[in-house]
């Protein structure tokens, strides 16, 4: 089985530190989760289908 470098042993659970990520926003900015550290954050993930 192929394993990518940097694959965690397990996914983050409640109580663990969240992983950081950097994605593009719909209006073309680069946004990372750590831009919002220090506040409560709600991440909602959805698809158009």
């Amino acid at each position: 089985m192929v394993r990518k470098i940097g694959t965690p042993d397990r996914y983050p659970d409640v109580g663990d530190l969240t992983p950081d990520f950097l994605l593009d926003s719909v209006d073309g900015r680069h946004v990372s989760l750590s831009d919002y550290i220090g506040r409560k954050i709600v991440i909602y993930m959805w698809a158009s289908w």
């Binding site: 089985m1 192929v2 394993r3 990518k4 694959t7 965690p8 042993d9 397990r10 996914y11 983050p12 659970d13 409640v14 109580g15 663990d16 530190l17 969240t18 992983p19 990520f21 994605l23 593009d24 926003s25 719909v26 946004v31 989760l33 550290i37 220090g38 506040r39 409560k40 954050i41 709600v42 991440i43 909602y44 993930m45 959805w46 698809a47 158009s48 289908w49």
Partner: protein, 158 residues
């Protein structure tokens, strides 16, 4: 594809695009819609993968609890976590290779890679839906998404 929904909802929150399914690599989910709540210190207060509906009173209450008080009960604890992660990430890697093929206009090769991904991890519904959307665009992109059709597909074991 996303902007019509964002504009119709008059979103005040930031909307990001994750076309390569990277969040699935980080968090390990196989279906959407999901919610993850993060505390001020960066720890996860709560998460639910799949079947989250803010309009449902129990889901709204659960979200409010996480925001109010921090960590709650964790719902998913898979057995044999290491194999499950390798399988999951291998399927995601195949999905991402497929997306590259789509960018180069090799849709048949993309479909082949996505079908392989679903063989590797049959429980990943994000990848499965991608296949359905390409094979049956009228069920996804013409007017409203045909969720009854999707439920039929699941019953038929597609």
């Amino acid at each position: 594809m996303v902007m019509p929904y964002v504009e119709a909802a008059k979103c005040t929150f930031v909307t990001l695009i994750d076309q390569q399914n990277r969040l699935s690599e980080l968090f390990g989910f196989k279906a959407v819609p999901n919610v993850v709540v993060i505390n001020e210190d960066g720890t996860i207060a709560g998460k639910q993968f799949g079947n989250f509906d803010i309009r449902r009173a129990s889901d709204f209450a659960m979200l409010s609890d996480w925001l109010r008080s921090g960590p709650a009960n964790n719902k998913d604890s898979p057995d044999n976590k290491e194999t499950a992660i390798e399988t999951h990430n291998y399927a995601i890697m195949l999905f991402q290779e497929g997306m590259k093929q789509v960018e180069d206009n090799n849709v048949n090769e993309a479909m082949r890679l996505w079908r392989l991904a679903v063989d590797v991890d049959p429980s990943n519904y994000v990848i499965r839906k991608q296949i359905w959307a390409i094979e049956n665009p009228e069920k996804f992109y013409d007017e409203d998404v045909d969720y009854a059709w999707q439920n039929d597909q699941l019953k038929k074991g597609q």
